[in-house]
Every structure is written in structure tokens, then in C-alpha cells.
């Protein structure tokens, strides 16, 4: 459902992504792996519209979203949880969550989505009217993911979600995501430094190195391929 | 510190010598021109020189040190009032009065600079704005001393006997102003090329890095402020002679903004920019009044056309400058010229503060 075709992104003279192509099927989790600087974050920032590619295209289903503004892309149902979380620190937890799907028309469903977020993430419910800067790092991570989910996206872009999260919480979140993937056909693109844990939860995996795709396969197969793991994934 | 070798052999000679030669040449040229033109044009020439002094000082603060001041009109006022007050009924030598004005303006500049040393960006702008609007009010408040709204009158400097009885006083004032401007420029150019100047630029370009490199940011800001205030004081003193009267109305916020306009038009951070900007500042009103009378525009329009044009120029310059205003039009011209000539240096006769080696 997400088609990346010949995508090239440059920052001045630096080539961050070099003619990347791959396909993300609907209702699956695709891990994007690789060392620091490989281009993973650039990739999702380009998908969500924060970065303009030099050439190539990105399609969501039938729709070419390559040159759309980020807010338009968000309104098509793509939710991007950025590296560094992007929690609006001066706003309360509740306000952050409400912002999740504020552009959606269905007010009742919006409120239901927020309520679901509280159910899934208990700590957030406890701090609901506190400003977000009072949250710990892990709680902020929870908040940004919850906020993204509150928009009921069809495509979720997660940039390093495990950072700062206790493994128990991470497992909980991943389980929930899996559930959404299965039940609601949610598509997830997951960037992770920790390749091992990402591969354990993902269906497919794409490995980037220096802006190029060096591997694209089913996660299980990649995890078992020792040479690749050692070369690019660190285990 | 690495030694830069360039294609310009003259750059190997001491900077001061080079600047003095340039100044001397410019001076001779200007004196010649001044002798050929009429008294009224000499009057305008003097005005250009006066504003160029103030603008050069402001350009040091804003273009080189990166801090915007909206209050330099007030600093000019200090210079003007110092001269006017000292002159009342007394006959003091001109250089002494100029120095006194420089001193008083520098003192206020120093006090203000110390007080505002930790202020940045909008906070500093706001403080200088308050200075611009507030200082002239002191003159009105203590009108006994400062002559109130009407102000103090100043007689133009007497033409020395050896120039002959026919020598117009406007020309004499123009010569004085030109000499003052050239001296100022030489001093400023040397300052900017010195280590102090480098620390100014360092703070402008990346304050955090400069601080880490050991530059005392606050002191740099104070220094820049004092020097620019000194220039404003000198300009103000000459302005008192030039205008003939020193009153609060002559030093309104509009004056401070006109100085900002001058350096924006002329090019931030360049000495020649101060000159270009001053030329524009002086000649736009006469151009517009000429235009207004030939088009039969009402006085309300005619009087306000210069300000409207300055404002429009500022707005358009900001909208249109693709590289930011650093260097302004001048920088674009120089860049174009350099590329065309294949050389990597600026054309002769222009002291570019930002590129002492011309690259």
C-alpha cells in the first residue's frame, strides 16, 4: 500500500537516499534497519512530507503523495511518530492526545480514540491534565505513540520507538500494534536501531546502508541470515 | 595564525598604511569635487558625510556584531546637544567640541552597553527603542537647559581666513565633515581588521562557539556599542552645525529608523554600504520633493513620500534578498564582478569588512 519508487533525497551535496525502491504491503509491519546515518530517519521524514525528495516518487495506494505538504499527508491517514518524540511539552497529556486526530470529523470517534489511549496506556490516564513536560522520557514516548494512534491512521511511521521505553511497555505497545495490524489492517513502518527486537516483531524488513537498500526480505529470513546480520545489523 | 597569501601584493603592506592611502586619495578627490560644485550641493555633500559617519558606526554594531539598535538617533542627539550646549555664547575650537561630543556619546553608549550587555535580539532592540523614544523627552522636560521644543541654535563654523573671503561656509563644513568621515572610516576599518573586529564577527556568526573560544561576549557587545555610539556622537555634533538648530524633533524615532534603512540599503557589514545608504538617505527627499512639485502632489503627500519610500525599500529589500541581507546589494554586485573577472577578491577601493583578504 506504500510504494517507494526510485527515491533520491539530497541535503545539499550529501546524498542521503540513493534511488530507493521498495513496497510496503497493507496490514503488515515493516522494519527499516541499518546503522546510524544510513538514511532511515530521512526516509520516514520524506514519506511524511517534512523533506522534499530530489527525485522519485512515493505512493499511498493509488495516490502520489511525493510533493504533498505534511499536513495533507497526515490527513490522508499517515501518522509519523518522530525521533525525539515530538511531544508538545507545554500542553497537557490530554491536549496532546486530542491533537492526535483533531482533523477528523467524527467527534464522538475522536473522543473514543482518546479514551482507548488511556485504557492502553495507564500512566497517561493518571497524568491526564498535567503538562507533558512533567512526564518521564518513557511516558513521553508512550504519549507520542498514543497520540499517533488516536488519529486511527492507516499507516504508522515509528522512528525509534524503543528509546527510553521499558521493555515491558515496549512489548505491550508492540502487542497492541500487532492487534491493530491484524484486526484493522494497520500498516506499520518501524525504524529501529535494535535490529534484533525489531525483527522479532516485524513481518518484513528493509536494510539501508549509506542511503541504499542492501536487503529487503521477510523478517524471519533476514534474522537467520548470519552474514547480513553481522555486516549491517550488529548481531 | 595562518598567513594568507593573496594575489594582491598591496595586501602584504600594513593594513593601516593601505587604509590611509585610500583615505587620502578619496579625500583629495572629494575636495576637488567639492570645489567645483555649488554651495547647495556642498551642503548635501556634508549631510552625506555626516550620515555616513553615523551609519558606519551603526553598521559596525549591526552588520559586524549582529545586534540591532533602534536608538542611534538618540546617540546622535547626545552629540548634537553636547556641542550646542558647550557652544552657547562661547567660542571654542571645533576639534575640541567634536571630541567632547564623541566623549559624551561614548559615555552614554558605554552606560547603555553595560546595562544592555546581556540582552539579545528583540530584547536589545526594545531597549534601544525605548532609548530612541525616551531620550529626546529629556530635552523637553528640562527645557531651561536644553532649549525645549525650540532647541538651541548653532552657528556654522567660521571659514578660516586663508581660504579667502569668497569661500562658502557650506563648503568649509563639507570639508570638515569629509575629513571627519575619512578619519572615522580609517579607524573603523582598522578596528574591524584587528582581533577585536574578529571577535565582533565571531559573536555575530555563532555566539555560543565564540564564547567557547574564549571571547567575552558581553565585553564585545559593549565595545561595539561604545564605538558605534562614538560615531553617532561625532555625526551628531557635525549635524548640529549643519542643521543650525538642535531640537528634539530633529532626533525622533524616524531618524533612528532612517539610519537602519541606510545600512540595509547600503549593505550590512560593509563600510561602503554606509556611504551608499547615506547618499540614498540624503537624496531621496530632494528627488521626491522635485517629483511631487512637478506632479502637483499635495504637501501632505510630498512631505511623507521619503519615509514611505524608505519603508517600501526596507520591505522590498527583505522580500527580495535571496541570500539574506548580509552584504546587501553590494555583496551581490561584488560577487558577480568577482565571478566574471575570475578573481576571488573584491574590487579595489572597497573595504569589505567581512573579507579582509578579499576572498
Amino acid at each position: 500500500m506504500l510504494e517507494i519508487d526510485d527515491l533520491t533525497v539530497t541535503y545539499g551535496p550529501v546524498v542521503a537516499l540513493d534511488q530507493i525502491s521498495f513496497h510496503v504491503p497493507e496490514g503488515s509491519i515493516t522494519a527499516v534497519l541499518g546503522a546510524n546515518g544510513a538514511g532511515k530517519t530521512t526516509l520516514v521524514r520524506t514519506i511524511s512530507g517534512l523533506v522534499r525528495p530530489r527525485s522519485g516518487s512515493i505512493r499511498l495506494g493509488q495516490r502520489d503523495i511525493t510533493r504533498l505538504a505534511p499536513e495533507s499527508i497526515a490527513r490522508l491517514g499517515i501518522a509519523h511518530v518522530p525521533e525525539g518524540r515530538g511531544v508538545l511539552a507545554e500542553l497537557t497529556v490530554e491536549e496532546n492526545l486530542r491533537l492526535g486526530g483533531l482533523w477528523r470529523r467524527d467527534r464522538a470517534d475522536r473522543q473514543a480514540a482518546v479514551a482507548e489511549a488511556y485504557q492502553l496506556f495507564r500512566p497517561l490516564a493518571e497524568r491526564r491534565s498535567f503538562p507533558a513536560f512533567t512526564l518521564s522520557g518513557g511516558e513521553r514516548q508512550m504519549l507520542s505513540i498514543a497520540r499517533a494512534l488516536a488519529a486511527r491512521p492507516q499507516l504508522l511511521l515509528l522512528d525509534e520507538p524503543s528509546l527510553g521505553l521499558a521493555s515491558r511497555v515496549l512489548t505491550q505497545i508492540m502487542a497492541r500494534l500487532k492487534q491493530l495490524v491484524v484486526e484493522h489492517k494497520l500498516t506499520v513502518v518501524l525504524i529501529e536501531q535494535n535490529a534484533r527486537s525489531a525483527l522479532s516483531v516485524a513481518d518484513d524488513a528493509v536494510v539501508l546502508s549509506l542511503g541504499r537498500v542492501v536487503a529487503h526480505d521477510r523478517a524471519r529470513r533476514l534474522a537467520s541470515e548470519e552474514g547480513l546480520r553481522h555486516a549491517y545489523l550488529g548481531f | 595564525m595562518a598567513i594568507r597569501l593573496t594575489r594582491w601584493p598591496s595586501l602584504r603592506t600594513p593594513t593601516l598604511a593601505r587604509h590611509l592611502v585610500l583615505a587620502l586619495g578619496a579625500g583629495v578627490l572629494l575636495f576637488l569635487i567639492s570645489s567645483q560644485i555649488g554651495a547647495y550641493d556642498d551642503y548635501n555633500l556634508a549631510e552625506v558625510a555626516i550620515f555616513a559617519i553615523a551609519a558606519a558606526g551603526l553598521n559596525l554594531l549591526t552588520g559586524v556584531n549582529g545586534q540591532l539598535s533602534l536608538g542611534h538617533g538618540a546617540l546622535m542627539a547626545i552629540g548634537a546637544y553636547t556641542t550646542s550646549l558647550l557652544l552657547r555664547g562661547r567660542d571654542l575650537p571645533l576639534p575640541l567640541l567634536l571630541l567632547a561630543s564623541v566623549a559624551s556619546a561614548s559615555l552614554i553608549g558605554c552606560l547603555f552597553g553595560v546595562a544592555a550587555a546581556r540582552l539579545r535580539g528583540p530584547y536589545l532592540a526594545g531597549a534601544t527603542l525605548a532609548l530612541a523614544v525616551g531620550l529626546p523627552q529629556i530635552a523637553t522636560r528640562y527645557s531651561q537647559v536644553f532649549g525645549g521644543e525650540e532647541g538651541l541654535t548653532v552657528a556654522p563654523p567660521a571659514v578660516p581666513a586663508w581660504l579667502g573671503a569668497d569661500f562658502p561656509p557650506e563648503r568649509w563644513l563639507a570639508w570638515i565633515a569629509i575629513v571627519a568621515a575619512l578619519v572615522t572610516f580609517v579607524l573603523l576599518a582598522n578596528l574591524v581588521h584587528s582581533s577585536v573586529g574578529r571577535s565582533f564577527r565571531g559573536v555575530r556568526d555563532h555566539e555560543a562557539a565564540a564564547a567557547l573560544a574564549g571571547i567575552d561576549v558581553a565585553r564585545t557587545q559593549i565595545q561595539a556599542f561604545v564605538v558605534s555610539a562614538a560615531c553617532a556622537g561625532l555625526a551628531g555634533s557635525l549635524f548640529a552645525y549643519w542643521a543650525g538648530v538642535t531640537n528634539p524633533a530633529g532626533f525622533s524615532l524616524a531618524l533612528s529608523l532612517q539610519l537602519v534603512t541606510a545600512i540595509v540599503i547600503g549593505g550590512l557589514g560593509t563600510l561602503s554600504g554606509a556611504v551608499w545608504g547615506s547618499i540614498v538617505l540624503v537624496f531621496v527627499p530632494s528627488l521626491t520633493s522635485g517629483m511631487a512639485s512637478s506632479l502637483n502632489l499635495p504637501t501632505s503627500v510630498a512631505n511623507n513620500l521619503p519615509l514611505a519610500i524608505y519603508g517600501a525599500v526596507l520591505v522590498v529589500a527583505m522580500l527580495v534578498a535571496p541570500y539574506g541581507i548580509d552584504g546587501g546589494l553590494h555583496r551581490l554586485v561584488a560577487l558577480g564582478r568577482a565571478r566574471w573577472a575570475g578573481a576571488s577578491s573584491n574590487h579595489k577601493g572597497v573595504v569589505d569588512w567581512d573579507d579582509p583578504a578579499g576572498g
Binding site: E71 | T62, A127, L253, S300, N303, L305
Partner: protein, 292 residues
Amino acid sequence: MQRFVVLTLNGLTEGSIYAAMALALVMIWRATQVVNFAQGAMAMFTTYLALFALERGASYWLAFAIALACGLLLGAVVERVLVRPVESAPPLNVVILTLGILLVLEALAPMLFGGQIRSFPAAFSIVGLRLGSLQIPLSPFDLFILASVLIMMGLLLLLFQRTDLGLRMRASAFNPEVSRLLGIRVSRMLTLGWALAALVGALAGLLIAPSLLLYPTYMDQVLVFGFTGAILGGLDSPPGAVIGGLAMGFSLSYVGGYLGSDLETVGALVILIAVLMVRPRGLFTLRAQREV
């Protein structure tokens, strides 16, 4: 004692206008990290438009509404047409842009409306109220000033804290990039922010015109005092701006009353410098700098 009461009440009413100006400046600062030096001139212009309407036979309230509506429009247009293109330029550029707008407006006003000093009517009587035999140094118009500023602030508070739109505007101001990822049309929010700020400025211009009289530069000092108040309170803090503006009103009233009215701006300058020497970022700034 009597004098103190008079000065205090005077400070309160003028302070509320400075608070409004300070609030307008802070609104724009929070949204776009710009100090709109043209805020006062914009308010001057809308007040002239109100006078224009009055002279053509409009009622006071119609002229009032026209000024406010024009304020909204002017703010939106300025943001969209002039500020938007230089959004990503160095901050110095935008400041100079607003200075240019200030000059243009202050030159345009006398061209269109004449440069001589004009009087502007007050909505209500400016004679002090009577409580039985006691004359209070507070007039119906003073009360109107206080009431309108309070109502304006109350409405803004409601907007920002209780509505979805306000939430979007706040988010856009705090983090435009993340807000865009959340589907917020940030540029629209910025335009709206400028429009609302100009509305507040327009109100300030209308309220202070009767006492200052209308001439092209009459809002310069209001800008300075409002800006000083905003800086005192910390540019990031709307409540700080209001408190700062009120503090300016009181201080200036006392300075003017006890030391002479020509010294007001000097007084403002001294207060500003004194506060900034101790707290270079204003009194109420909670957040650390955004830069670096």
C-alpha cells in the same frame, strides 16, 4: 493620598491598554518568533479608518467595529503577503521588514488622512463618576476601557484554552513541525494569530486615542510601553505580558505624576534596563531558550 489614588487609577486604565499591546506583541512572538514593530502603526491606521467612518456619518459603534474588522484583515494580509515569504530568513530580516511596514504606515496615514492632530471621541463620558457627594477619579470611559480589555482577554483565553482551534494555534506556535505531522494547517494558524493580534492592537488604538489624540506617530509610545511590558513579563508569557503592561501603566503614572510627565519614557527606559540587568529574559520566562 488623593494624588496617589488618582495616579493609581490612571495607571490602571493606561496599564490595561499597554497590557493589550503587550499581549498582541507576545501573541505574535509566540507564534512566529518575530517582534512586530509595526503593531502600533497598524493600530494607528485602523483608528484612522474609524475616524474616517465617523466623519462619514457612521455611529461610534459602527466605526469601532470597522476598526476591529480592519485590524483582523490587516493582520492577516501583512502576515500572508509580507511576513510569510521571509519566515525562514534570519530574524534580523523580519524585524527590519516590520520596521519598513511601520515607516510605510506612518507615512501613508498623513498622506491619506492629513497629518494634523485630530481628536477622537470617547465612547462614554470622560468625567469622573460620582458616588453621592464623592467624586471618583474614574470615568465611565475608564470603566469601558477596563471592561473591553478584560472581555477581549477573556475571549482570547477561552479561544486558546477551550477550543479546538485554540489548541491548534497553540500547538502551531510551540512546534510547527510536529503540528504539521498532526494534520494542522500551520500556516493558516499563523495568519490567524497575526489577525487576532492586530485585532487586539486595534482595540488598544481605539481606546487610547481619545486621551493621546490622533496623529500619525501617536502609537509609537504605546508600542514602546507595550513592548517594555512584554519584555518585563518575558516575551513567551501572555500572562506575563499582561502583568508587565499593567506594571508599566502604574510605574509610568507614578513617574509622570511625581516627577513630571515628560519623563515617562525615560522612566520606562530605566525600569526596562533595571529589570533586564537582573533578568535578561524577563521576569516570567519559564522556559529555557529555544535556540542552540
